[in-house]
Symmetry: C2
Subunit: 241 residues, 2 copies
């Protein structure tokens, strides 16, 4: 049983404003909710249409359809407290850190969080106008990686400027072929907006310009790669060495 | 001006059945339609809400909204004849060919076609139950690459079996670390379904099992990469050598 007011509260978590007001986000699906129960995140309540979790409350399928953000509602939905991560944990002097400049598409952001997890990158620092990582579409696309990767939001140019001697890598058409470039074990990899790339302000902070060369290098085909795909190729190159 | 019957015909091109019946697909946006005009594809008609192309017909914004498959309709939509590509052009004895086994998500398929174009792969051979490459969502996600990459549909296991000595690569959890593996300049790279991976029947045709190792190699984090992301990392490794 769930009240009308509770349904409205949960539905409001689909928006960033709602999540900030209530300090929570939603996660759907037995696998993801199971992973959250085994993580350090705090679950406020679990709603389910079948008795799956001992601490879950049974609701009807109609009620689930009303609160679900998926096209086809799942049997479980959890309301989870928004975690707070200290930005200081992102330390490009010691580790590889991803920085996202105005990534807009929730699917791209989710895919990037998932691949960061695969390539052992624990921190992603985003510009304030990057899509919100607790958007339900992003949470689903991360396939659970949102529980392991810390995503921070800040003024990206200011944060980069404050990173001292840390190397800051970014991809540009005039960059050095990444396959031949010297890549360190720590530093920041900056990825830019889907249409416009890295903003001028952030580009000024990039110390090492890289390029993923097309094949063959002189062909005239696609002008760019999808940003999640480009991030993957770059992270793979860093980790291969 | 566009008749009601014509609107219904164009709307039917959103489905595979409609496209097969009318032998056409739709492409939206000034950039993409401009590229198609400069390609070898045959355009049946161009509909536009502003005078953009000399050979385009003016329609109202309301009419455009009715025929568009985009959330926000663009100013131009073209009805284009489905190209027919000879499967024999996909020759893994001479070139690198991608093979897709039951890829379901249109966004993933579009992203894969786009990155194949970037990495100079001209042919993609798909299992018959892979998403259709002329689905409007796929066409948009390819960002024009659909004009340069030939996508074929066939019985994948049969086609692979008929490729003689060509190397057939696929990713498996028990595969060899791709960064250390010997990779040839030609052959087939098989990528499997988003949830289930490569089917048993197709797996039997794989001669070289590869693995993109997580970092560090023994970490327990995400269990897999998105299929478009994994395809990109593999193609990048092949082309880097």
């Amino acid at each position: 049983m769930i009240t009308r007011a509770e349904i409205l509260d949960i539905k409001s978590l689909a928006t960033k404003q709602g999540r900030e007001e209530l300090g929570a986000f939603i996660a759907e699906g037995e696998k993801l909710v199971g992973e959250i129960r085994n993580s350090s995140l705090r679950i406020r309540r679990i709603l389910q249409t079948k008795p799956i979790f001992a601490d879950g409350e049974l609701i009807s399928e109609k009620e689930m359809e009303r609160i679900s953000q998926l096209k086809t509602a799942n049997a479980v939905l959890a309301v989870v407290e928004l975690p707070k991560h200290k930005l200081a944990l992102a330390n490009p002097a010691k580790n590889l850190v991803l920085a996202l400049d105005r990534i807009q598409n929730p699917g791209n952001l989710g895919t990037i969080i998932r691949l960061a997890d695969w390539f052992g990158i624990s921190d992603i620092v985003c510009s304030e106008d990057t899509a919100d990582c607790f958007n339900p579409k992003v949470v689903q696309a991360t396939m659970g990686a949102i529980l392991r990767v810390r995503v921070h939001y800040t003024n990206l140019a200011e944060w980069l400027s404050a990173q001292g001697d840390a190397k800051v890598y970014g991809t540009f058409l005039e960059g050095e072929n990444i396959y031949n470039a010297q890549l360190e074990k720590s530093g920041v990899i900056v990825m830019g907006n889907e249409g416009q790339g890295i903003s001028d302000e952030v580009a000024e902070c990039v110390s090492h310009k890289l390029l993923i060369p097309p094949y063959p290098a002189d062909r005239c085909g696609s002008e760019s790669l999808n940003v999640a795909v480009a991030t993957a190729v770059i992270c793979s190159e860093f980790r291969r060495r």
